[in-house]
Amino acid sequence: MALRTQSHEMGMHTEKLSGRTQQRFFSPSEEENFTYPGAHDVDFNKRAEFDADKLSTSEINLKLRDLMRQGYGTIVMRNPGAKHAIAVGILNKLNLQIEGSLGYFGCGLIDGPNIHIKGRVGWSCAENMLAGTIVIEKNAGSTFGAAIRGGDLVCKGDVGARVGIDQKGGTIIVGGRCGAFCGFMMQRGRMVILGDAGKNLGDSMYDGTIYVGGKIAGLGVDAVPGEMNELDCQWMERKLKLYGLKAPNGIKNMTKIVAGKQLWNYDNLEPSEKKLIL
């Protein structure tokens, strides 16, 4: 209730609501606020395996749901066969081991699971990921981690273009090289590319940080070099160690890219207020 009062005092609720409001206010005392509808309470010690070879995308995702409903917290999926939209929308803790490759839109909209993929992933892996970890042993397609908001997304191989486009948080780590337009319109979070980066890196980024271990083909508009400091190095050392990765030329020799903040208006004015001034 205190939060509610405070927000009203700050003038954040000037609208006149009639009828039933859909606004909900967070209360740490209510357990339901910590879980999503459809999230499952699973036990990591309960393990299940299944073969996805003959199953369709829907059948695979329903199978995962069914196993989680039964409380299985460790699931091994074999032979996904590069099918699309596998393991999406998982909103609870889970250890998911995928023995094979995924097609497009794998592991999107997840919040919490730890996913290990032994193969490759296609375009748009982990789109809108909120929390958890995804580790891919081989390569990944373009728009890897688009609009990711949290968690760690790691590809140990090479990745296509537009990695972390519209990234809003979390960490993306690429073990190899990546294509053009990575970090396009990035807003928050960190991106680590241990190999070479394509042209227009960080184009129109608002904020966030990009670290590159190899050569950069070219920076995008408003992406500028930053200065590597001790905190950057310590953070990266810890992260890379976590996933068994190393910077080829050493962490201290990595290039840091940040937003120049010249392209956009970084003030707090509302569009209507800007009109008055301009």
Binding site: G100, G103, Y104, W123, G141, A180
Partner: protein, 311 residues
Amino acid sequence: MCGIAGLIHRGKTGDIGTEMTAMLQSLKHRGPDSTGFALYGSPKGNTLVMRFKVAEQEDMKHGFKIHDQVKERKAEVDKRLKELGATIVQAENATEYAFRYTLDFGGDKKKLANYIEDIEGAEILSLGYGLELIKDLGDAADVSGQYHLKGFKGSHALGHTRMATESDVDIRSAHPYWAYPFADVSVVHNGQLTNYWTGRRNLERRGHRFMSNCDSELIAVYLADKMQQGAELKDAMTDSIDELDGVFTYLVATADSLGMAKDVMAAKPMVLYESDDFIGLASEEVAIRSVFPHEIDTFDPYEGEVRVWKR
């Protein structure tokens, strides 16, 4: 959105008809309007294979006259081939309106193509020693079944599943495109060319013909023009990255090669599988996996990348 696929067996042949059918069927969701195959069989000496049609599939549904017209047009094709000194070795009906001829012909292929395509409704889909280009409305299983493509032995192939966006749903606008007047050159494309009309007008002024209003045809004619001027396939493709405007990933095949090019924005997908004896490319990995069900290592070629493989 369209789906494209290519494969090449290196140093051997395979059942490319069955393989390409499986690849394209798994890409059906990217384009259900039409499906096309460019299959490269084993050339038999100087015998030319000509695939052509004298009407659209849609035409056959309109009126009774079309059935007689198809016969008349085919008879006119036969007559004109004879006039040009071509001997029909074998004539096969693929459908009522599409045909496969093998020809003994040592003359000017461009002249032959122009003379045949002067007949109303006639279009040469391909003319080559190894290339056979088949395209029609429907998905891969439909077209493959209709034209009996399963069991087609050859070294390499291209394929396309089309979702029509800016031109008609007909055979004329379906891919692949034969790079007229070059024997054995074909192209499939996923994307959109924004300088189509400018490029088309330039090429028409240079004497090239366009059969459709589909922007993808520009790539085939563009490459044909470059090669006519003496450019190697890879050089022509590299030039195309700068000179073609828009978003595109395309595949091109010649008598002995298969190539891919991706625009500088890398906006259209392509997954590549490369081994010592087989190259597979497709808009989605699931297409390659229809030929290789076991785990394979694949990757995305990068923006502005051009690659060519020999069979």
